[in-house]
Symmetry: none
Subunit: 190 residues, 4 copies
């Protein structure tokens, strides 16, 4: 019966936070985020109880979006290598298309404000990626390593590639292909 809580506002705040963190780091003031979102100082705290809550929800949202985008439309019947390639391409596209998201994520990932719960939530959302990697490494040199290791390893290589692509866009084509071959060698062997 009152003014309903507005999902758009919530998203505007998350989006503004992404930009603010990308350019000013995790210390970006909530006041700056609110202004960037076109919302009053106090409204931010209507949608997120504390700054730490905002950070955690942003982290989960970005990671989830990344995983969803990377996995979109992958045909279930094709070969693991084909599937991984498509995922890889889509992943890179997402990251290079929105470099601010990538930059914000890099800061959030190492922040002490991110709780174990948030990391767990992200891990769950990435289970389809985990499945794909599981199938890709079958019979290869990584078959006995902890799956979490293979996951974070792939992630690290992807992020390094993304950063390099963002820094040297001219080499993008080559880099993306070279990097995928490298990942395949890591996960599946020659």
């Amino acid at each position: 019966m009152a003014r309903p809580r507005n999902e758009d506002r919530r998203n505007a705040i998350l989006s503004a936070a992404t930009r603010a963190i990308a350019s000013q780091g995790l210390g970006a003031p909530t006041a700056v985020i609110a202004k960037e979102a076109g919302v009053s100082n106090g409204s931010l705290f209507v949608y997120f109880d504390t700054k730490a809550v905002l950070l955690n929800e942003l982290y989960v949202a970005l990671k989830t979006e990344m995983a969803t985008t990377a996995l979109a439309g992958i045909p279930a019947e094709s070969e693991p290598r084909e599937q991984l390639l498509q995922m890889w391409t889509q992943w890179l596209h997402w990251a290079t298309a929105g470099p601010e998201k990538r930059r914000a994520l890099a800061q959030l990932q190492v922040s002490d404000d991110i709780t174990a719960d948030s990391h767990q939530a992200v891990y769950s959302a990435s289970s389809a990626i985990a499945d794909l990697l599981e199938r890709s490494r079958a019979g290869g040199p990584m078959q006995d390593a902890p799956l979490s290791f293979v996951l974070t390893l792939t992630n690290a290589i992807a992020e390094t590639t993304i950063d390099t692509v963002i820094r040297e866009p001219a080499e993008a084509e080559t880099l993306i292909r070279v990097a995928f071959d490298a990942i395949w060698r890591v996960v599946a062997g020659a």
Copy 2:
């Protein structure tokens, strides 16, 4: 005011900063760092003009120490693979022996306070590692990629491995071997 006499004090501050950042993040107050170093609040600023300067110098110092340790005593005449293996082992040993240094480094690496100059300085200090990787990739699938990409890629894989080893020390032996094989596949191919 930035011509310090006492090298011990300077080092005590850097060391305290490592611990403080590892446990409290980059937001660790200078007052806390000073106290941890057994030095007064004001003295910190005799040795480092600003907090940003301290952070940058710490970054360079840690990275340089890491490179120096990794490269120590590598016989010039042996095979690249042998040399890389030794470097790898020493690198991992340094990182797992001092996990606080590793944690502090992870935060510093993505911080906006670290200047391009500092990144450049680190890059220069790592030239011997670059040389080794240059020799290792000769004739392999990475021979045409930018060397900086190969460097950061190796770095990323190493850090992922280190984090996993710190988290699951029981698997250390296996992980270190598996990870080295992976790196070799990335850099030199099969």
Copy 3:
């Protein structure tokens, strides 16, 4: 906007305010009071234009209730001492039965938010008590003092007694008798 229909809601807010102030002090947020009353944030301001108005009305309401209860059923024809004793007993009963009212009142009494008008209103509502004290002191050592002084003095003694009774209920019987004798000595002499 301050012409309420629903008297129950109004009372619920006053009652909730009593409890909130007793436990959190005068700084108790209006939001807390509203929730405690089972009423929405905004509704509180339909019944009371500002927080200060709420505080003042609560003050007057509590004091009035206290006076009314204290004076209930006192036979007009009995001796002043008898009347005063009955009032005293009823007063103490009211206060010890609802210690939150007593606690809230203690805070309100010294608050700057309570206007002179409110104090005046309370004074008027207490005229019957004033009359009783006037009759009680006749011919005694307080006969020439300002009546307001005798009133506040009696009040202060009562409140001290109440606080002590609440803190040490085991001694209640003794305390109440001892305190009444003391008041009588103050007002009427030996």
Copy 4:
């Protein structure tokens, strides 16, 4: 070897807090207190860790000063009534001379920020007053009541008197005498 912490500043802050609380209540902003003390916002927190600490220390300081002043120079060999009269006079003088202290104290006394420790500290500082009341009530109608009751009762009567004297200074002489007689009747009987 550094700038020493300055006792005068500390006292200036306590004194400013007394004035600010007297005129604005316990909600008086620390910024106002600091400015009133001629000290920077941050300096206040060098001397008092939190606002609550400031409030508690102010409460203890004021009560202690009050007790000390009230007890000054009382000849040990004189009669209890004489001693009590002198204490009473000095007490009233202190309170009427600095009505802001009295007003601040009234707010602090009922505040939730004042800890049990502070109340205890005050109680200890008032032990000489307690002794005097103990001697005064010997053989009288209050001899079996809890001493703490007699203490707070006396206190309440004193404060009521002070408030009335401040409000109606013309009647001061009469009031003080009448009130002392009343206290004596309360404590010692006729």
